[in-house]
Amino acid sequence: MKKPVIQFENYSFQYRSQTAPTLHEINLTIYEGEKVLIIGPSGSGKSTLGHCLNGLVPFSYKGEVSGSLKISGENTKNLDIFSLSKKVGTVLQDPDGQFIGLTVAEDIAFALENDGAPQTQMFAKVAEVSKMVDMADYLDSSLHQLSGGQKQRVSLAGVMVDDVEILLFDEPLANLDPATGKYAIELIDRIQKETNKTVVIIEHRLEDVLHCHVDRIIVVDDGRIIADMTPDELLASPILEQCSIREPLYVKAVKYAGCEITPEMQPAHIESFQVDGCKDQLANWFRKADASIPKQKSESILELKDITFGYTTGKKTIQGVSFSIEKGEMVSIVGKNGAGKSTLSKLICGFEKPNAGRIYYRGKDISEDTIKERAARIGMVMQNPNQMISKQMIYEEVALGLVIRGVPEAEIKERVLKTLKICGLYPFRNWPISALSFGQKKRVTIASILVLEPEIIILDEPTAGQDFRHYSEIMEFLAELNRHGVTIIMITHDMHLMLEYTPRAVVIAGGRKIADDTAVNVLADSQIIKEANLKETSLFELAIRSGIGEPKEFVRRFIAYDREVRQQWQ
């Protein structure tokens, strides 16, 4: 029998500010050297579970605890957050926010500094750990210059200097582009094998985590553990669907085809998945499923011609990018972190001035227009809603833009209420914004732009940090807006979003446009995938392995079918 390192016994927790417990009667044992994934929708309590492990609950987030939690045999009641941090090393979600030092080496050494380790010992330890995560060549680099994946490796190294027994990853994939996310999962796997530490990953992107082996998956919903089984068993069960977690696409496709999935088919990884028994049903489903409707051509609404831009002279962030967007389109701009996607949106909105090139709106040159003039036609929604919200009440926030433009009171009221209805915020119109969830705040910011009636809306990572249900909600809402005629441009590195909602994708890599095609075609081109840090969808592999001759068409039909199914449970 293996040694248990984490033992929850009848554990419940209630935040001081909340009326109901967030965790109910948790019973869970995790053994030494295990690799466990905790999944669940937002608000399910999975992050709170993680906070219990690292001590943020109850030391930073106060509340009432009942039952017991033992970490390597010791009851956490008798420990403090510092001794817990020697046992459990936490890699937090957003690597940008948790960096403390200025350079890589300093940040890695932070825990050692707090222990009062002598300098020579620190140098040795930092060198050793940074080698382990492949960051030895960057010790003196500033953290701001690193890529998303490198940042994450630094935070991993920062907790590994402590020789912790348990590594806890809180949503490690949230801010990474698909390819980097894949490497992150591989790195976690390698470190776990080399050091035999216990690894706990909290994530809702199941398919991405399953890129490497996981011993057990714990499903949390509504503060309770509703499943604790191997990946194969879980994927064969209906549990994921019940608590609206996105199943791996290949599993979904096989289910749509009417096959039953059993643990014996080893559905945990596409490579091990035994599809032979389902070939006929899949082929059948493929024949029956609708082909997508060909899109109609319409007039161009926004055109970029040879845009070149650099923040500092000599270094070009954007180089000779041209593309044209048609009225009523829904387009995604994709590419790896730091490729220049956000810069491009700033150029379109006039936040930055291009060094060369022109921007046309309905054929008219708007390169010289001010931010305010452009804002009447092109609205921009930023990734973090807290960066946009400046009023306390929802109504006031949405009305702000109109009030400033001096629109008459009666008209303001009419337009704001109409917008709130479209955005599903009408019942909350008199609420304070602070009472809203992250997803709802996002809607408020979209509403505050929409009320100005722009013809184009640009959204920066509209679904970042959202679970599957909220993701579907926001995206269906945007698709609805799009059907009303609003042109929508999304900046994203979410492959699902691009594949499912935007027929067309513009791919940016190293400041250049490297592709402008349908989303399916982009994801079928291995060269583009490599250059832009994207990831191939498992549906291609499924189609090929089950002998369907047209994998692209298979993907297209799957997407169309899947969206219809999801619209029903909206």
């Binding site: 300098q119 620190m122 807290n386 946009m388 400046s390 400033i404």
Partner: protein, 276 residues
């Protein structure tokens, strides 16, 4: 983005090479002298010396120009205020009155007043470049280590270092927020009337505070999870031992302190009087 000001500028120069402690102590000496003395000779020497240090530090004027102009603006206001409220201060100090331009009553311009105000301006000019130089040539982490070494609690030292570190971040956030609010029609330019502009500024500051609070919560959690505040003492990865150059600099600055104090006070008066 090119909006970062008053943040650490990495260069290879003798000034950068000095440890944070040395720079802090020198800066304190420097400010003490500049505050105590009104002796024009000392001030002139200090001013010329600080220009030399500036050149040695390889920091370009362009990089600090904005802050410099900002402070010069206040200096101008200060000078005007002195003249408005105390136009005969110079006469009182130097005990003579050489009239330059006759203006009604007490607002007559005297050479003494001009000389006095030149001294005040010189004081600014000796302290400001030194202060800016200190901030842009001291690595925040090393600065924290230095503060801690001269006896400040490490919690406070770290708080100061973090504040310095977040200056560029907050500037970046401010810019993004300002632009997006401008896009909603909030005008911050001179086209708008002043009361309106102040009101509009609130719509940038509130989101800035909110998003900064988010950041503070995140970073304090991250620090706690990695054991910050556990012990009474901590060590510093970036701490640097004293080198020859540090000791030499400290000796040089102590000499400057002593000599300037001697020159200033040997005649029993803080002011150098060219009129008697």
């Amino acid at each position: 983005m090119a909006v970062e000001m008053l943040s650490y500028i990495e260069r290879k120069s003798p000034v950068h090479q000095l440890t944070g402690v040395t720079k802090l102590v020198c800066f304190l000496i420097w400010s003490t002298v500049a505050m105590l003395t009104y002796d024009t000779r000392v001030l002139l020497f200090l001013f010329l010396f600080s220009i030399c240090v500036f050149i040695v530090s390889k920091v370009k004027l362009k990089e600090v120009a904005f802050v410099l102009l900002f402070i010069l603006f206040f200096l101008m206001i200060n000078n005007l205020a002195i003249y408005v409220f105390s136009p005969q201060e110079g006469v009182k100090i130097y005990g003579t009155s050489h009239v330059l331009v006759e203006i009604s009553g007490r607002y007559t311009i005297t050479i003494e007043q001009l000389f006095y105000q030149i001294n005040v301006t010189l004081k600014y000019f000796t302290v400001i470049p030194a202060a800016i130089l200190f901030i842009v040539t001291t690595n925040p982490s090393e600065f924290a280590a230095s503060l801690n070494r001269i006896g400040v609690s490490y919690r406070i030292s770290y708080a100061v270092a973090l504040a310095l570190r977040y200056i560029p971040d907050i500037q970046r956030d401010f810019r993004t927020i300002a632009l997006s609010q401008q896009a909603r029609g909030i005008d911050m330019s001179r086209k708008e009337k002043l009361p309106r502009r102040i009101k509009n500024a609130a719509s940038i500051i509130i989101p800035l505070i909110l998003s900064s609070l988010d950041k503070i919560e995140m970073i304090s959690n991250a620090m706690e999870l990695r054991g910050f505040g556990k012990n009474k003492q901590r060590t510093w990865y970036r701490a640097r031992p004293f080198q020859k150059i540090d000791i030499l600099t400290l000796i040089l600055f102590t000499l400057i302190l002593l000599v300037s104090l001697y020159v200033t006070f040997h005649d029993g008066n803080r002011f150098y009087n060219p009129f008697s």
